[in-house]
């Protein structure tokens, strides 16, 4: 069985601030991390590997320094890494990115299960995974927080309003993973980090994966971002205290004052 996990290097959003004047992210000095949803998807792939002996390949697109997240994935137990790195890819939106990743997956060739994080925390679009499935012409199930496979089928728990939907799919299938709120990402031991140096990371260009350069980069990206801005700060809430009767009375008073009730 062959599993491909698509991963992305992102700025640690807990440390990123938006410049209120320009609306852009201030990235100076912000460390890069593996997108947490992808981290979770990778751990799920490795759990399937432990059970079935599947081969896990991690795939990323980005500048050369994105090798760092591939190395992390290899240290955690993935078998091989592929980085799509080419100036031609710069400026790709989710449509162009999913096309590029799909061409790389075709070059990898063998795949039964493709796992993606639900979305990257630097863009929050949740479009790349579904885009890959479209370009490959395979089915997809999105927003799953659990996935299992016996090598023939994939069984997932898809998060839906008010609960889970348990689904089974024939392989190949692409699954996008969300993560439980209490998820704590695993990190490798020093020994595993050291040994990951011996695992293969291939760096491929657009030409090597046979990507049509008109379909990637800015030219291949139909998305136009008109403006990015932080939401306006909300006024501070007011806490009501006292006995239940007192609080109810105060609450009604406020509702009247704000003309919600007469």
């Amino acid at each position: 069985m062959n599993i491909i996990v698509c991963i992305k290097q992102v700025p640690d959003s807990t440390q990123v601030k938006v410049d209120p004047k320009t609306g852009t992210l201030i990235r100076a000095g912000v460390p890069s991390i593996l997108n947490p949803y992808d981290h979770y998807a990778l751990e799920k792939a490795l759990a399937i590997k432990a059970k079935t002996g599947a081969k896990v390949t991690v795939l990323s697109m980005g500048p050369n320094q994105a090798v760092a997240v591939l190395r992390l994935a290899l240290a955690l137990g993935a078998d091989e890494g592929v980085l799509l790195a080419d100036r031609a890819f710069a400026g790709s939106d989710t449509w162009a990115t999913s096309y590029a990743l799909a061409t790389a997956i075709k070059k990898i060739g063998q795949y039964d299960l493709i796992l993606c994080g639900q979305m990257a925390i630097d863009g929050d679009t949740a479009q790349t995974g579904p885009g890959i499935a479209y370009h490959l012409g395979i089915p997809q199930i999105t927003f799953c927080d659990s996935v299992d496979s016996d090598g023939q089928h994939a069984v997932v728990k898809k998060l839906i309003e008010g609960g889970h939907q348990i689904m089974q799919a024939e392989l190949p299938v692409l699954i996008t993973m969300t993560m439980p709120v209490d998820y704590v990402a695993k990190y490798p031991s020093f020994l595993a980090a050291h040994r990951a140096q011996d695992k293969q990371i291939s760096i491929w260009t657009a030409a090597q994966v046979g990507a049509d350069t008109h379909k990637v980069g800015l030219e291949g990206s139909p998305t136009r971002v008109s403006r990015i801005f932080p939401p306006p700060a909300r006024a501070k809430g007011e806490m009501i205290s006292g006995s239940a009767e007192e609080m109810a009375a105060k609450f009604v008073e406020i509702l009247k004052k704000e003309s919600f009730v007469k």
Binding site: Q15, K17, I26, A28, G29, V67, A68, R71, L72, A75, V184, A185, Y187, P188, S189, F190, L191, A193, H194, R195, A196, Q197, D198
Partner: protein, 546 residues
């Protein structure tokens, strides 16, 4: 397997940071600090191969370790210090305790003991210090008497005591320095050996999460195979061979502790509103309590990293450079932690925030592995020899090198570095001509001035060569500004302190001396200093957001 590359080093550091984030909260540290208790479970877990296996870094690859290079070991030390200096000391004691085996052990001894340390996750302690033998190991009293059988040495009986031994009460394996008939020698003593006892854990000012205890040896028998190197009298050489290296690790402790304290204060200051705005926006606050420390941290980082890279080529030695790194980084870290309390005012003085504990912790870095004063003396002696050997040209030559660097790279402060070197050469020469080094105080202070000059030089050269020190959070342009600030202040300190020393013993005219060290030239370079410091402050506010 290949040596660890930069990506691997960063991966290890990320794992260590994440581990600390998940397992070692401020509350956890605070509780153990109050109870004066080592978190042994945490240390054991950090040694667990599947969790971190941090101790594997110091064990050569052929014995099942990672064969860590100096660079990754110092970076791990810096990160450990940012987590907690007590825990860092516990880990470091294993590094230090293993060093005599690493340096002097036979292949069989290395195989036996390193396998134990690597695979059984044993804690190690380094037993050198005694009541009358601290930095001055010559007064060593612990004895190792030969035990002979049929005319052959079969073992040794060790008698004496050690004090202030890190991991003293909790280690499984001890490397102990004792006086054998052939001279000082290292022995390996295991916990539980009859006659070997450990004293109660000390009640210390700081690093209270590290166990410190005395050791007592009452005719403790160890087999001859536990004599490291199987040869008596090599103990001092084996101890001194690693000073450059071990002091570099403590330098990283000073850097890490200081950084953690000031970063805490800076992030607090971004949110603390006083007189209409955040403290971090106020120039006086930044230039007095925050910005100068970051300048010194980056200078220290550049110097530590440069020395580490030299050690990787030379393997051992560099005792003077190790001493410079430790003196500069630990004194800077200690002052920074002090100011971090001041920057946070009343909050800084409470145990609610980490800076109060860091201040208590980081002080030890100015004491263990050679006090600042011993280091000043070591640095002085090392470079005084160079000054005499070259007939006063040692620093003149370096001044010329930096004048050339300034011609190519006018934005890194190399001109001030050159002026500092020339002032230093003049001060040293006056001290020689008038035999002023008979004053011990002057030798200490010269050691300090030498470290100022040499750290400023390495920082400026790294910037001129376009290198951003690994682990730094700043871009090259900001580092260049920092280097300009640092070089100017260091040249000024060398000139004015140097003058004070010479005039203080009444041996020169102030006017001649002032011209001799080119005080006016140094002062003229101050133009733009505050502007540069303000630029650094702005960058700090950008990077260390609340």
């Amino acid at each position: 397997m290949a040596k660890n590359d930069l990506t691997t080093r960063n991966l290890m550091l990320d794992s260590l940071k994440q581990y600390a984030k998940n397992r070692i909260s401020h509350e956890f540290i605070r509780e153990h600090d109050a109870k004066n208790e080592i978190p042994l479970d945490i240390l054991k877990e950090m040694y667990d191969h599947d969790v971190l296996g941090v101790h594997l870094l110091l064990i050569p690859e052929e014995y099942g370790g990672l064969g860590g290079q100096t660079t990754e070991i110092y970076r791990v030390c810096e990160q450990l210090a940012r987590i907690d200096l007590g825990i860092a000391t516990g880990v470091f004691a294993t590094f230090l305790g293993s060093d005599p085996i690493n340096v002097g052990g036979t292949p069989e001894q290395k195989a036996k003991w390193f396998q134990k340390i690597a695979h059984e996750n044993k804690l190690v302690a380094y037993g050198a210090t005694e009541a009358d033998a601290g930095s001055d190991l010559v007064s060593l009293r612990t004895r190792a008497d030969r035990v002979e059988k049929d005319g052959k040495i079969v073992g040794y009986k060790i008698t004496g005591s050690k004090m202030w031994i890190s991991n003293g009460g909790v280690a499984d394996i001890y490397t102990v320095l004792a006086l054998a008939p052939g001279g000082p020698s290292w022995f390996i003593v295991e916990k539980g050996t009859p006659g070997f006892t450990q004293d109660a854990h000390e009640d210390k000012h700081g690093i209270r999460l590290s166990n410190t205890a005395g050791l007592a040896f009452d005719e403790v028998y160890v087999p001859a195979e536990n004599l490291i190197g199987l040869e008596e009298g090599k103990g001092f050489l084996q101890a001194q061979a690693v000073f450059g290296y071990t002091r570099l690790m403590v330098a990283a402790f000073g850097l890490g502790g200081g950084e953690e304290a000031v970063e805490t204060a800076l992030i607090y200051a971004q949110q603390r509103i006083q007189a209409g705005g955040p403290l971090a926006q106020k120039q006086g606050f930044m230039l007095k309590l925050i910005t100068p420390h970051y300048v010194r941290f980056e200078a220290a980082r550049a110097y530590i990293d440069w020395t580490a890279k030299q050690l990787e080529v030379n393997n051992h030695g560099l005792a003077t450079e190790g001493a410079i790194a430790k003196l500069y980084a630990t004194e800077s870290g200690n002052k920074a932690a002090e100011d971090a309390i001041q920057a946070m005012g009343g909050f800084g003085y409470t145990k609610e925030f980490a800076v109060e504990k860091i201040k208590r912790d980081v002080k030890i870095t100015c004491i263990y592995e050679g006090t600042s004063e011993v280091l000043e003396m070591t640095i002085f002696r090392g470079r005084w020899q160079e000054h005499l050997k070259t007939r006063g040209q040692y620093y003149i030559k370096q001044a010329e090198e930096f004048e050339a660097i300034h011609a190519q790279h006018p934005d890194v402060g190399a001109d001030s570095v050159a002026l500092g070197f020339r002032a230093l050469a003049r001060v040293l020469e006056d001290c020689r001509a008038q035999k002023l080094t008979r004053h011990q105080y002057i030798t200490f202070m010269l050691g300090d001035l030498i470290s100022e000059a040499e750290v400023a030089a390495v920082f400026a050269r790294e910037c001129a060569e376009g290198r951003v020190t690994e682990g730094s959070r700043f871009d090259l342009n900001t580092l260049k500004i920092m280097s300009r600030v640092n070089a100017r202040l260091s040249a000024f300190k060398i000139a004015t302190e140097g003058m004070k020393l010479i005039l203080g013993v009444g041996a020169a005219s102030a006017q001649d001396l002032s011209a001799g060290v080119n005080l006016v030239g140094i002062e003229e370079k101050m133009t733009g200093l505050i502007e540069d410091e303000d630029l650094v402050s702005a960058k700090l506010r950008e990077i260390f957001k609340a």
